[in-house]
Amino acid sequence: MQTITAFLVLIAFCVVSFFLGRTRSQLIAKTRGGASLHSLPKHYGYMAAAWAFLPSIAILLVWTGLESSLIYSSVVSGLTPEVRALSTDQLGLYYNQLQSFALNQIDEFGLDEAQIAAAQHYREISASLAYKKIIVVLVAAVAGALLALRRIKPTLRARNHVENMLEWMLFICSFIAVLTTLGIVLSVLFEAVRFFQAVPVTDFLFGLQWSPQMAIRSDQVGAAGSFGFIPLLVGTLLISIVALFIAVPVGLMSAIYLSEYASRRFRAVTKPVLEVLAGVPTVVYGFFAALTVAPFIRRLGESMGLSVASESALAAGLVMGIMIIPFVMSLSDDIINAVPDSLREASLGMGATMSETIRRVVLPAALPGIVGGILLAASRAIGETMIVVMAAGLSAKLTINPLEAVTTITVQIVTLLVGDQEFDSPKTLAAFALGLVLFFVTLLLNIVALYVVRRYREQYE
């Protein structure tokens, strides 16, 4: 609450500093007998605002980040030695109770005297810290603004200052994006490492059996779970391949038609329609797959004397293929359009027909880009969950028969983490190991795609 207040006050103060800086620079220019300013008045304003804002916001963020641990150490140091001697978990529980009471989230029922006293202490400290925080932040803001305003001279290169600050701001934003990715990877990695302490890496990577369960009692029937991820990988690849078998020919050929043959009016209608296809939520595709496509495939298979599971890789793959058609089409269309017309003219001028030109000149020139697009589509197919959950079943069967039910990495992650879970059981932690593997598979695909796309840039011109 105080943080938000402090932030809003800070913003308001920034606006004020901007106008002060601007006005002051104009005044200085005037009093110095029309000495020309190095930069425009607004640059001086921006500079003053930035000086007011940046140091104080840094202080605000750091302070807010440290606040809870400051309060914690202060409160804990006031507790009795017996309590402090408790184990970390128990101390944490004890502290959580008094904190919740202090924040009026629970009543005093079940709390001991010491906790209530400590909670009182907590309230005092946090109130004084919040008060101090606002003071410090505002003082920093005022000091920054005053410093900047004092520095305003006609020779001050405010424009360059502002440009530099903008560059830094952009750098920090990109840095945040990188850090976030790194954070996600690391958090998955640490949990996965915990999993691999319980289940050997080799069992996970090369095991042919997936039945993730852990004994609650040691004498339980079927206690030994197995965590071989090969069936999941095969299932994932099977469904993705089925999907690509649908999406690549249809997507690529529609892209060729749209970019080479179609009239402008046909294009204007078709492209948006296909893009609507891309906007359909995957859960809708999921029940379309489960309720329409899967039974249809089963009946079709039965009429031909094949045994088809009511949930099959084929059904999921087909629908997933339809889902990524617009993706393949849109990327290929862009890339085919990027092939220079001069190449088409050269080929047509030699007496080649349209289809010869497309087959021998346009597609080879666009091929690396198209491959890149297909790989991006493939990594989408591999990451797709909803359709598979609904249409392909949950049984981790090691098979390459698309008529059987299979399961994928993403589906297993969902089933492992849905519902009440204990986060120290290998069964739950397996989800992180799967996530890590999935991350690496898609990363690999993306790297290959990026590499191919980069090569493509060097192809012509």
Partner: protein, 306 residues
Amino acid sequence: MASRMENSERMGADKNVTNRTVTDAHSAGSGGSLESLHLNPDARGQETIGSPFVKRAKMSARDVNVFYGEKQAISNISLDIAQNEILAMIGPSGCGKSTFLRTLNRMNDIIPACRVEGKITLDGEDIYQKERDTVLLRARVGMVFQKPNPFPKSIYENVAYGPKIHGLAQNKATMDEIVESSLRRASLFDEVKDQLDKPGTGLSGGQQQRLCIARAIAVSPEIILMDEPCSALDPIATARIEELMNELKENYTIAIVTHSMQQAARVSQRTAYFHLGELIEVGETKEIFTLPQHQLTENYITGRFG
């Protein structure tokens, strides 16, 4: 023939724009005498001065009109191209010389908005007749474009492209022969003989353009159309291409569009001067450049505009 609508419309639009720009520039920027020339009824809709017709005509155009949509790009052009000659077409931008060149192998067909009227014959046969198709025509009438446009394939594949699509080589040895002799005729072979498998796009601009010429002559055309083939090249590369054209005219008939009057004077036997979609004057190159009959021709070749 279905084609790329967007692209083609853009190309059509480009022509319109250039046309308009030229007209504007003339009416606004140029001197009074020029303006009056434009408005002079004698300058428009008149008979071509000189001799557009020759005895041994390889290709002849009679009363050709080309329209991009509503806009008329060239009007009533009659012109012969003689066997084994180089015919240069000159004139200010947007005068229709490129459009005329492209009607000769029906490259304008790929522009849906484009309409061609009149009669164009190759060895006496009308190339716009319904039953004739563009595949064989373009094998006989090759084209070299303004900007070198080798395919992003190897040098060998670039030259072998035409023979492949026309099925000219039955085996690898014949193909090798065709590729080598085409590269030789384009006087490129010695420079690239050790790198036939390297991409054609890696060559220098002049080499690329000679590669495009080699690619065009690999299907043994009878006529080669060149649309400002040297406009993207430096003077040395230009000199080599001009030398090459001189050699090529022994075996081929060449029609070249150029913006360089010196180039037209150096390489061609006959020169045609186009202005705003009309053929103003045709004649022996020497005569055109020494004794132009029409005022517009004289103004153009003396550099008073263009």
